[in-house]
């Protein structure tokens, strides 16, 4: 499937990212539970980009082959970066008055989670990987 990029500038874009994520997950053959996991994870990360970095972009890519389905979302922003990454990844920590379940929660929803952050911005890459049913 072709990669898709969604620019994140306002909360309407969050909705578009979420819908695109679910549509792509469905199209490449993931079940309803995994579609929801992926769409929820994309929603969390996109919201972070919007709230903490005033926007960014979300890129959805399909890396599936004959053996497995591998769906990736990469959300990048040019924000100030996360000062204390370890704390941001721990449960119940939030600088914005939310529940603090965003990043650790997202991590639990997906199979691969990679985050790089610095003063030039933050890039979070997640993947859902499933063996194809024969």
């Amino acid at each position: 499937m072709h990669p898709q990029t969604i620019e994140l500038g306002n909360s309407g874009d969050l909705l578009r990212a979420r819908l695109a994520a679910r549509a792509m997950a469905k199209q490449i053959g993931l079940g309803v539970m995994d579609q929801t996991r992926f769409a929820t994870a994309v929603s969390e990360l996109s919201r972070n980009a919007l709230v903490y970095a005033k926007g960014g972009c979300c890129e959805l890519r399909d890396f599936s082959d004959q053996v497995q389905i591998r769906l990736q979302a990469e959300v990048r922003d040019r924000g100030p970066g996360i000062v204390d990454l370890q704390r941001a990844l721990s449960d119940g920590f939030s600088t914005s008055g939310s529940l603090g379940a965003g990043l650790p929660g997202t991590q639990r929803l997906v199979d691969h989670f990679d985050i790089q952050t610095g003063t030039a911005g933050t890039v979070v890459c997640i993947q859902i990987v499933r063996r194809r049913r024969t």
Binding site: G12, L14, L15, R37, E44, S98, L99, A101, G105
Partner: protein
């Protein structure tokens, strides 16, 4: 698009959240609802989330906060129609993301709401009714 607040009877509101509600819509829903509950002295609110196929931690927080606000005003809240996939992601993301009374569907939510309202009134010493410990 605004979230509709449906008046079922003199003291009950039904609030169906639609799938494409954005963050601004969610915030106006919160102020619309608390305003209505207070102005109309509603005693019970059912929030129907069956149309939501994704509930992220922000939406979960909004639901919790809204329920708290409505309870502070003096009304009871039941959330109904949580989809199985949504329940799964919420639990996987973290415990206690949604901490409100829930029901399968609107019909059961209304029954539960009525019980909650009765129990709340019974527990209120000012009504002169037997207190909550007399229940069950």
């Amino acid at each position: 698009m605004r979230v509709p607040l449906l008046r079922l009877n003199a003291h009950t509101l039904i609030v169906p959240l639609h799938a494409d509600v954005d963050d601004e819509g969610v915030l106006s829903f919160q102020s619309d609802l608390t305003g209505r509950v207070s102005a109309d002295q509603v005693t019970g609110v059912v929030i129907d989330v069956s149309a939501l196929d994704v509930v992220d931690s922000y939406m979960a927080r909004v639901l919790n906060d809204t329920a708290c606000m409505v309870r502070l005003l003096g009304a009871c809240v039941v959330v109904c129609g949580v989809q199985p996939a949504v329940a799964l992601t919420l639990v996987e993301m973290g415990r206690n993301l949604v901490d409100v009374p829930t029901a399968f569907n609107l019909e059961r939510a209304l029954v539960k709401l009525e019980q909650l309202v009765v129990a709340t009134n019974a527990g209120d010493p000012r009504t002169g009714a037997p207190d909550a410990s007399a229940d069950d």
